[in-house]
């Protein structure tokens, strides 16, 4: 189906299902219960899941297939965002042109940077992309203030007068899809549960499904095989008369377009943009997402993006009061000790947990969560059929 092999079709359908029913799946706990804070089914967070999913899928096309580690992908996200907000401000408040602009600008920008950065490889490539991204950040922050709004960033103002269909009564315009605003939600109450279906989320989700489909096609295409060849042996590629640089540049531009799309969607959901979106630690976050989920796998980056955004939003909300509630059944002295210890990992320090998890994944699970899942299923699922190789990999993981 969809021109995909059977296995990929299943995966694709599963992803579609997960994305469509996310408001149900991510809201397993009834409203008002103690566990309700683990619910992630509110529009703002769900939008972030899919948008960062797109970003990670795009990054994976570059890093997962070619092995070129770019530390500057936040720059494309940033320029996509700026392009989208200018489209909303000047052209029309409809999000579709804004998103298209974001993709195009992201791609063009990636082409320019890729053209230069890809003249080097390995660590030099990483540093070059890092330098370019930091440069873009500094430019957005100060030099290009008339275009980027500098430190304060940009948002839609009531003085903006888009060419097509801006508000006439002097109110602040809102991003919309043919008149339907992004914030429109339909709330469904079943018993104690409240499920929110948000238009903005479904637009972003649709974009992610398309992005995911394209990424499967790229992975399975001859082009994808070329990218893998770039990773495994460029010399051999040269000898067979192929130019690795061309394929890498295409991959770079495609991943830049994905990042631009993500940037455009971010602006469509929440009509503001600031330069901090381009700071190099933001690029680092994209890298972490992809690695955590499993670089080079189809579903990995989406999982990685989801789990990091989940940690960021849920883990960071757990404060000492919440911890005291959880461990209330312990004796007083012990409770304080346990809470103090647990507090190191949550709340404002959630990055600590992130760093440790990330290091553990890099050290023990180079294939990320996906490889972890495969190892677990190899161990328990088909125990009788395990071959020597899976045994070896399983035992190294235990070390």
């Amino acid at each position: 189906m969809f021109g995909l092999a059977a296995k990929d079709t299943t995966l694709f359908l599963v992803v579609i299902g997960l994305v469509i029913f996310a408001p149900f799946i991510l809201n397993p706990f009834p409203e008002g219960s103690a566990m309700a804070q683990f619910n992630a089914g509110y529009p703002d967070l769900m939008q972030r899941f899919v948008i960062f999913g797109i970003l990670a899928i795009g990054f994976n096309i570059l890093f997962g297939l070619t092995g070129y580690l770019s530390f500057g992908h936040a720059a494309f996200l940033g320029v996509g965002s700026y392009a989208a907000i200018w489209s909303l401000k000047l052209f029309t408040l409809n999000v579709i042109p804004a998103i298209l602009f974001a993709i195009i600008v992201g791609g063009v920008f990636a082409w320019a940077i890729g053209k230069i950065s890809l003249r080097r490889s390995g660590i030099y490539f990483s540093i070059l992309t890092l330098a370019f991204a930091q440069m873009s950040f500094a430019m957005a922050y100060s030099v290009l203030t008339p275009i980027t709004g500098g430190e304060t960033g940009l948002q839609i103002k009531n003085t903006d007068n888009p060419l097509i269909g801006g508000p006439t009564d002097g109110s602040i315009g809102r991003a919309n899809l043919f008149g339907a605003e992004m914030g429109n939600s339909f709330e469904l109450g079943i018993g104690n549960w409240v499920f929110t279906f948000n238009l903005g989320y479904y637009i972003a989700a649709f974009a992610m499904i398309v992005a995911f489909y394209l990424s499967i096609r790229i992975f399975r295409s001859p082009f994808g095989i070329m990218l893998r060849a770039v990773k495994s042996n460029q010399n051999r590629m040269n000898y067979t008369g192929l130019t690795p640089k061309v394929y890498t540049l295409y991959a770079f531009v495609i991943s830049g377009m994905y990042a631009g799309l993500a940037g455009g969607l971010m602006v469509a959901m929440d009509t503001q943009v600031g330069p901090e979106r381009m700071f190099w630690t933001a690029s680092g976050e994209i890298v972490i997402m992809t690695i955590l989920g499993g670089a080079g796998t189809l579903i990995g980056p989406v999982l990685g993006a989801g789990s990091i955004k989940y940690m960021e939003n849920i883990l960071s909300k757990i404060n000492k009061d919440v911890l005291h509630q959880w461990f209330a059944m312990l004796p007083d002295g012990l409770e304080d000790v346990v809470v103090e210890f647990a507090y190191i990992f949550v709340g404002k320090q959630w990055h600590f947990t992130l760093g440790i998890v990330f290091m553990l994944v890099v050290i023990f699970l180079p294939g990320g969560l996906v490889e972890g899942a495969q190892r677990v299923s190899a161990r328990f699922g088909r125990k009788k059929k395990t071959t020597d190789t899976t045994d070896n990999s399983a035992s190294t993981s235990a070390e």
Partner: protein, 343 residues
Amino acid sequence: MDQIIVQILNGLDKGSAYALIALGLTLIFGTLGVVNFAHGALFMMGAFCAVVTSKILSSSHKVVDETRTDFLGNPLEVDVFYMQDWFGEAAGAAIMDWAVPLAILVSIPVMILIGFVMERGLIKHFYKRPHADQILVTFGLAIVMGEVIKYYFGANPIQTPAPEALSGRVDFGVWLGYGPNAIVYPMWRLVYFFFSASIIAAVFAFLQFTTFGMVVRAGMADRETVGLLGIDIDKRFTFMFGLAAAVAGIAGVMYAPIVSPAYTMGMDWLVLSFVVVVVGGMGSLPGAVLAGFVLGIIESFASMPGVVNLLPGINQIIIYVVAIAILLIRPRGLMGRKGVMED
């Protein structure tokens, strides 16, 4: 002319920080072949050694002072510093005042220990793995180190003043034959420059003139052969990692009075120091030092008011522009050997 001298001075002092961090990075890269993204975090750790030392030295206890009373007539409680208890009034105050230079003594063993633990515990397992993995795992480590610091010291920068005697300003112009007040420069920044110059000289002398340094240099050139000669090169390389960590650490200690240490420091300096290393040529120690000073001076010239008026914001991007230009024109960097990492 005096403007130019001021800018060169400014550049030298920022450049010495770049050079010291880049020197440590290059030591690690040249000996172990590891790309250490946690090196900025080591610099930060050094700065926080200064914070901790000054906190410990100025710890105090409350004593009831019978001679002074508050407005109700009760005797007043005053803080008495332990240092003054133990060493007398004047000597104790001097010790507290000199906390930052004294922190060097604390930081060297601490940083060497951190370096040893890092190399034996983590980096050792990454020699055979691709550079991308090394970048990733040390990047994760940098996040963790930053968060640990944030947990204990909070997110706000902590002021760490230089000793009173070294925190004034010097009339630098008089030394060069200008009139008084022509070139006035903060004393501590000069101290920092001379300090880092001597550290750099010491590291080079160590590598050049000791047997240990000779073996390490031989190991940098050809690890296997040195190993075959029956020399335990791994042990020496571990020591080099500790040394690099210590260099980053004392660079951080002495820099603490110039920028108040904060947990973001590591990440802020990391990118710049990598750019410096790449411009200098990966694996080249003189290149790292040269590039550090050159980029520092270029940056300070770019931040002159006239230049900034002409090209706003140029001071923030000039380093990257220079780095990109150099990488494209001369990919191996200013003093890099041909073939190192040039795949």
